[in-house]
Symmetry: C2
Subunit: 422 residues, 2 copies
Amino acid sequence: MRSSTPAESVLTVRIDAAVIAAHYAQLNRMGGDTTNGFDRPAYSHEETRVMLYFSQCAEACGLSHRVDAIGNLIIETTSISGQWIETGSHVDTVPGGGNYDGLAGVVAGFEALKAIRHSIRTLKHGLRLRIWRGEESAAFGIASIGSRAAFGQLPPASLSMTCRGKTLADAMTDQGINPNIIEQGRPAIATDELDSINAYIELHIEQGKVLESQLREIGIVTAIRGSRRSWVSLRGTFDHSGATPMGCDYRHDCNLAMAHMHVRLDQLLQKHITDGIDLVQTIGVINSHSGMSKKLTIDNNAVSKVSGAAFFSFEVRGCKADKVAAYHEQAEKLIHQTAAEFGITAAIETFSDQSGIAALDKPLQQQISRTCDSLKLDHMLMASGAWHDAGTMAQQRRTDGNHIPVGMIFIPCRDRAIALKS
Amino acid sequence: MRSSTPAESVLTVRIDAAVIAAHYAQLNRMGGDTTNGFDRPAYSHEETRVMLYFSQCAEACGLSHRVDAIGNLIIETTSISGQWIETGSHVDTVPGGGNYDGLAGVVAGFEALKAIRHSIRTLKHGLRLRIWRGEESAAFGIASIGSRAAFGQLPPASLSMTCRGKTLADAMTDQGINPNIIEQGRPAIATDELDSINAYIELHIEQGKVLESQLREIGIVTAIRGSRRSWVSLRGTFDHSGATPMGCDYRHDCNLAMAHMHVRLDQLLQKHITDGIDLVQTIGVINSHSGMSKKLTIDNNAVSKVSGAAFFSFEVRGCKADKVAAYHEQAEKLIHQTAAEFGITAAIETFSDQSGIAALDKPLQQQISRTCDSLKLDHMLMASGAWHDAGTMAQQRRTDGNHIPVGMIFIPCRDRAIALKS
């Protein structure tokens, strides 16, 4: 939000930049020692501390606030219509993360709520800010814990996932939240409250470099990429690196086969991009245990051995679930073909498959676009490469059968301090 | 050695296979719990135990035996000429190694010595068996500790290398050997003894699959590959795997660049092989700390991040040091070019460079060949892909300026139980 000249079609409310700075003067001290970025895992004391900060801010300006059964914080005005226009984001971070990912949307949402309430005495719909718990998958390996659990959509098995040796169930209990609601699969947002959500708009920093490299101020999000994540483990034969001649007749070299797989997968994806299919693909982890949910053994690999074992993570992201699935099928075929060519075996195990949101609400995108025009903000349409709580919201249907209209506003991150997140 | 019909040109001595089996009945119990292979690191109690076994065998049949200042065991006959024909090998193993690597040459050498002494009462030259300590580099990261130290060629810095938390100096001391001789760079084999070595012939299992796949019984070794080993570490940029578009403009992806390097290096080597240059190349370790002498950090790599760091081991082996060096130069160029193409940086650090033996003694090869012919053993000429103590011996010059004539006999390993070694 920034001050601007009013335009006829848009009611402009002003938020002083100093107010935002004042929030960060406090918030920049919350999250570990903060020398190497912030550390506020899902359901940690650090996350709760920021939640409490916003409760106090709401209290100080006479805004109603409550905590749902999952521990999400809700700050809201009253509503004449019985409908609410909602915004929201999260306050947890990845280890060493930035302090804008999630928090920027919470700070902006809180101040927007205050400013709009101040400017317009008789709002038709109420305003509501949801501060979600645990959006980052870095902690427990699950994204959007707070928003998914709020709608009763978090699998009970999630409670036994661990972060730094503590289960999610225990982490919740430590923050005064009873995990039974997840165990029982009950939503924290009752049907009446779900039906009262008129629209949900989330502001978030863009986590890539698209806005920055294209010199745009605002990204209007059209869709949200889902992700499919697998472990690919390879088994070949350990052989003496000096005595074993080159070539597949003698060597069943997992590392070499893996390199060929990686290059061929890169070529396969490029072909899809050329064909206009929106997908990204990443092999982030190779042969290392860091960040792994499962220990695959490569302990016998050595400098002077042909590698008899290897593994890698394989992630495909796209907005359209059917495109991701079709691509994944081709990729699996390519992996197995390459393995056979090198005389090794490959096993592919998908451990996470989250469908994307193929299209966010078009009228909301048009509304945001008109607002940018009137505020003279350079803007562009773009897909969100990362998952967000807005995605969970977009999956919900009200009792009238309609999806909740959801929009997202991307802003470039300050100094490209991109908080890496899932 | 096996029984055969005598031929005119060759004096045949017979060794009963049961005698070899009797040795292994004892030796198969020496080396850790032996359920998952043998474990006799350099300068361990297990290695010493096998040394003692052969001292007792020598004692039992009235052969002279002594231990040099490095702990190598020497079993020998007297010599009329003051010259000795030598054989030798090692008894240490890699962790989980087989019981034929090294040991086969020691057992064969001991029984050959006994049988020849028994068959020929008046040998012109004496016979000598050297049982070397610590040939495997798996323990302290240095190959041929015993033979190199015996000739005063082990760098004193080697004494501070560690195996399972113990320095080589301490491991030697534990086996009753004073490491000062290495500290001072003094040889254990005096000039007189060096000059008395008429020839050295080592029998060893072939550690590749060449004899097996070509159905040959004997390999006559023409040369011994040396090795050059480096760590290649890559630094790029960590980015969000969903939000960052594909392509080098957006991604500086170390894992992807590494895959392209690996495939291109494979192509470069294939081109050299096609050109008739004898080289092998192995990337045995990727992004894992197992078997590493140096910790390179890739701790920030994760499933949902573009990889900002990667590393791999790069080993090139060849008999001709100049060919290895020329190839390495091209490989380094290729690595740096590929890094630049992907917007990352590469650092290459060579941590071991052992020159090969370009040619073993030709007359000895002819002698072995004639012997095989007369014994009707299928044989072939071949380079040794692995390093052996014979290589150390081949590097030595007598005071007359001539190198010691060295030959090697390869046999296929039983059941392809290849002991992986450096």
